[in-house]
């Protein structure tokens, strides 16, 4: 079974982000880049499916500038077989829909039976590409997957999605698109052998023209980035515990009107 996993390279959560001079993007100087955590759950699940079935291929795909190769390399180190890098200036301001269109074109070329994505990327938190990819392909889709099982003949997948108050289980005919939620698995760390092996694996550069995609304006565009409005200075309540707690309850009731 061929599985395609989409990954996005994002700034590490702990990294400081500053607004760039254009006011619309972040200054990338000094940023530590990582694979978005939800995408690691997707990669891990794809590798487990392949291992369980004893055969198959896992292809990692990412869209972004040259630095994205590093993210693809770490997916290869985890165990993906090869990678595709959508690397074209056309996509420098791609919104979720343009990204989904590019990924859909790759899916059509590669014809996998399953596409696994992360629930959302932790930089812009849009959480839209998985559903939009499914829509463009006309495939069924399940979000926030907590568990999955593919049937023996590889024709369908049973997936449990997290919803408010519980899990909903569905059977989806393959091919299908799934969005991985935290809790699906515990991603592995690349082994030294994996890291060494990844250097020899293929990362194919793909341009928009290779996919027959012409440049088109984004449907959603960023007008500008803003710093957060500062929160009013807080107050540390002094005194022994019973006194401090009494004062806290009073302040929540009377000053903040929060209770």
């Amino acid at each position: 079974m061929k599985i395609l996993v989409t990954i996005k390279q994002v700034p590490d959560t702990a990294t400081q982000v500053k607004i760039a001079a254009d006011g619309k993007t972040i200054d990338t100087t000094g940023i530590t880049w990582i694979v978005s955590p939800y995408d690691e759950f997707a990669v891990e699940e794809a590798l487990r499916i392949k291992e369980k079935r004893g055969q198959g291929e896992v292809v990692a795909v990412s869209l972004g500038p040259d630095r994205v190769k590093e993210a693809l390399r770490s997916s290869l180190a985890m165990g993906c077989d090869r990678a595709i890098h959508l690397n074209d200036a056309v996509w420098s301001t791609a919104d979720t829909l343009a990204t989904a269109k590019a990924l859909a074109a790759v899916v059509k070329q590669e014809a996998p039976q399953l596409v696994l994505c992360g629930r959302q990327a932790i930089d812009d938190d849009m959480g839209a590409v998985t559903a939009q990819l499914a829509e463009i392909l006309g495939w069924p889709c399940a979000y926030w997957i907590m568990e999955e099982a593919i049937d023996a003949d590889g024709k369908a997948i049973r997936a449990a999605r997290q919803v408010e108050g519980g899990l909903e289980v569905f059977d989806l005919p393959l091919p299908a698109v799934l969005a991985a939620q935290k809790g699906l698995n515990e991603p592995r760390y690349p082994t030294l052998k994996g890291i060494m092996g990844a250097k020899k694996k293929e990362i194919k550069d793909v341009k928009a023209a290779d996919l027959g995609i012409a440049s088109e304006p984004s449907q959603l565009s960023v007008v500008g980035l803003e710093a957060l409005p500062p929160r009013p200075a807080g107050r540390v309540i002094q005194g022994d515990v019973p006194t401090a707690v009494k004062e806290l309850v009073r302040a929540l009731r009377e000053d903040a009107k929060a209770i």
């Binding site: 959560t13 955590p37 932790i122 069924p140 979000y143 999605r161 107050r235 309540i237």
Partner: protein, 326 residues
Amino acid sequence: MPNAFWCIVEDDRNGSPKKVMAEVIAEAARLAPGRVEAVWLTDKASEAGLKQLGKWGASRVLLLENAAFAPYRSEVWTAAAADLAAKESPAAIFAPVTSRQREFAARLAARLGVGLSADSVRFAMEGDKLVATRPVYAGKLLSKVTWAKSPWVATLRPNVFRPADAQPGKTASVERPTVSAAGAQMKFVERREEVSTGLPELTEAETVISGGRGMKGPENYVILEELGRVIGAAVGASRAAVDAGWRPHRFQIGQTGRTISPKLYLGFGVSGAIQHLAGMRTSKVIVAVNKDPEAPIFKIADFGIVADLFEVVPELTKEFKKLLEK
């Protein structure tokens, strides 16, 4: 007449809209007075539920009632809503952030070939264009976005927008348009209910209590649950506590968990790592209790107590009990 602002109804699966719809409808009404329509895809809508949408300020309800719409499947909902959108040409399509609406709004936007602003926290009309503001980069920055064309599809973070007061005299006209309910490829197998804590749902609660690494172990969350029962709060946890296996992931607040925006957040033994702040920073009032005076959470807290949570929580439960019994 300018086109309508649609509000996609999130319901309780029992025929009633969830109260977050009062926020979505109110915000739509603020932006487009008199042009708010509720679009409800469900297998069953109650009369009371339909009336409620009117009381909140929808002037018209487009009810798409069909057994195929429950449980929700993005492929079926998208076909039906796109079908209706082609006939009605709404100016905007709003939905609250829930697990299913996040997926549905994205898929519908792709079907309609338009942009999506997910998890929006502010809107403004600039001329004849809608501009949305949404948190990005773990909530460290805000991004203002706009659409190339309508309908402007957006999801709204719960507890951020001021809810409409129900006006008993207001009613909505109810129409039942015929739409496609086809396209199902997924087959529903079963629903597994979570063991109920008897406390409110994390993302919907007006008050949220969170326990971090300072809780020392899973057995100690009972004291937070007791406090939660007294003040009607949901109880969540930090990633440190979830990764330690003390609480299931569904209780995690933060970047790889739930995003919450309650009126009151109470953090106990929570250090305030960036990834936790990402999930609770838009809370209105933040209270932090931590033994460590240097804990980063104190930087964003409105009220802090530097003390052992195991002394503070029982005392707080006692004081709140006294207050609420009055």
